[in-house]
Symmetry: C2
Subunit: 245 residues, 2 copies
């Protein structure tokens, strides 16, 4: 990988912001100062700054200057996965494997993954002993063939597939809906049947765009919510909503 100047500048500025160098209303050096300091053109410096704005790290106002973005926005940009959030707050999430089987794909799963036989794993996630997610993951038989039940209890599927070099994962599409808890959900999550749950379905693709993981997460509504930070809006209505069927 070629070294990109704007990326090096962005990395350096991100580090300095994280170190608190520009905390609480203090402005960054002006673009022309940064241009001199990094010995780059203003366009390159701006490309780095705009990238950090897109990440939610920095923001700017014309006539004023660049500054570290609102902490709320920063923390949202860094939210990451629920497990990393829990780990950061000192709670060790437990992962319990309920089911591990190679089975025929249902019509829905076949439509998404395009294969007839899949590895299906059901897991329960707990935080401080209380269940907070019921997870079902489907992967094509070929990708799951090397995985053991102990593997999926110890590690996340992302680690097992990506870091082990089995697949190179690219983007994903995530849908979030509400539903009433099924009997199976209710039993595992220790909530009443029919009580509201958040249901999240996620299709993860390889870098080539081929869908390789289908995951369903069910969360009890009283314990969980999704947070989305929108750097700019053109409406006050929720974004990303669509009507189904």
């Amino acid at each position: 990988m070629r070294e990109l100047r704007y990326r090096k500048i962005a990395d350096d500025l991100r580090r300095r912001v994280a170190a608190g160098e520009f905390a609480s209303g203090r402005l960054l050096p002006s673009e022309s100062e940064l241009t001199s300091a990094y010995d780059a053109s203003r366009v390159t410096v701006r490309k780095a700054l705009e990238a950090l704005r897109a990440e939610g790290v920095l923001d700017a106002r014309q006539g004023l200057g660049w500054f570290a973005a609102d902490p709320v926005r920063q923390s949202l940009g860094r939210l990451g996965t629920i497990e990393s959030q829990l780990a950061a707050s000192g709670v060790v999430p437990e992962r319990l494997v309920l089911d591990f089987a190679f089975t025929r794909a249902s019509r829905r799963v076949r439509a998404v993954l395009g294969v007839d036989t899949v590895l299906r794993v059901r897991r329960l996630n707990r935080a401080d002993g209380a269940p907070f997610a019921r997870v079902t993951v489907w992967v094509p038989e070929s990708l799951g063939a090397g995985l053991s039940r102990n593997d999926v209890e110890r590690s996340s599927f992302y680690d097992l597939l990506e870091r082990a070099g089995v697949a190179r994962l690219g983007g994903a599409t995530q849908t979030i809906g509400a539903a009433a808890a099924s009997e199976a959900d209710a039993h595992v999550l220790e909530i009443p049947v029919g009580s509201p749950v958040l249901r999240c379905e996620r299709v993860t693709r390889t870098v080539d765009g081929e869908p390789v993981i289908l995951a369903e997460h069910v969360f009890p509504a009283h314990r969980t919510e999704f947070v989305v930070d929108l750097p700019a809006v053109d409406s006050i209505a929720p974004s990303g909503l669509r009507l189904v069927e």
Copy 2:
């Protein structure tokens, strides 16, 4: 508002893509051709193209060219507001004002907006006659003072505040949760009490970061879901989720 060249170019290209001019693998004119055609510098043309890439409308490959993005991603990038989606599919959304009042802010509303008196508007949105959203909007008394009941029935709050120059809106934070339909929700949305609903709360800030609009949207779960497109992932778990309390 000053006319921005890169924005005009982006608007034109977006329209041409939507019209199918570059459908199914056909490339757009090269950047140097676009530079001549729009009589702008290459940097300006690229700024327009990059903006459309960020929207999910276009994509490019070095050495090949620019092309209309994958339709899946396109539809996600263009999702925008539910009302614009409906309009695009030929359904005219109706907006019915249920309530329009200046009232004392509840503790929650005061905590968010930082004022004691607010304009509170309740609306019902329908598509093809069927209710799909119950909306409550709170704005500080000072911002709502110039608005009439007819205004909020005809136009969106965004149009009323931003385009009318009352406030310059910046970013927003949106939380999505599930809940059981309250009696009021159920009555207005024509669903059973206790059936699952998606509940979305959105805080919109001015460009200066001051919260000025609080909006709550309640959607019947069986008709609606949120879709998020994630260009790159570092986990297969849902992103943006957090535990409440």
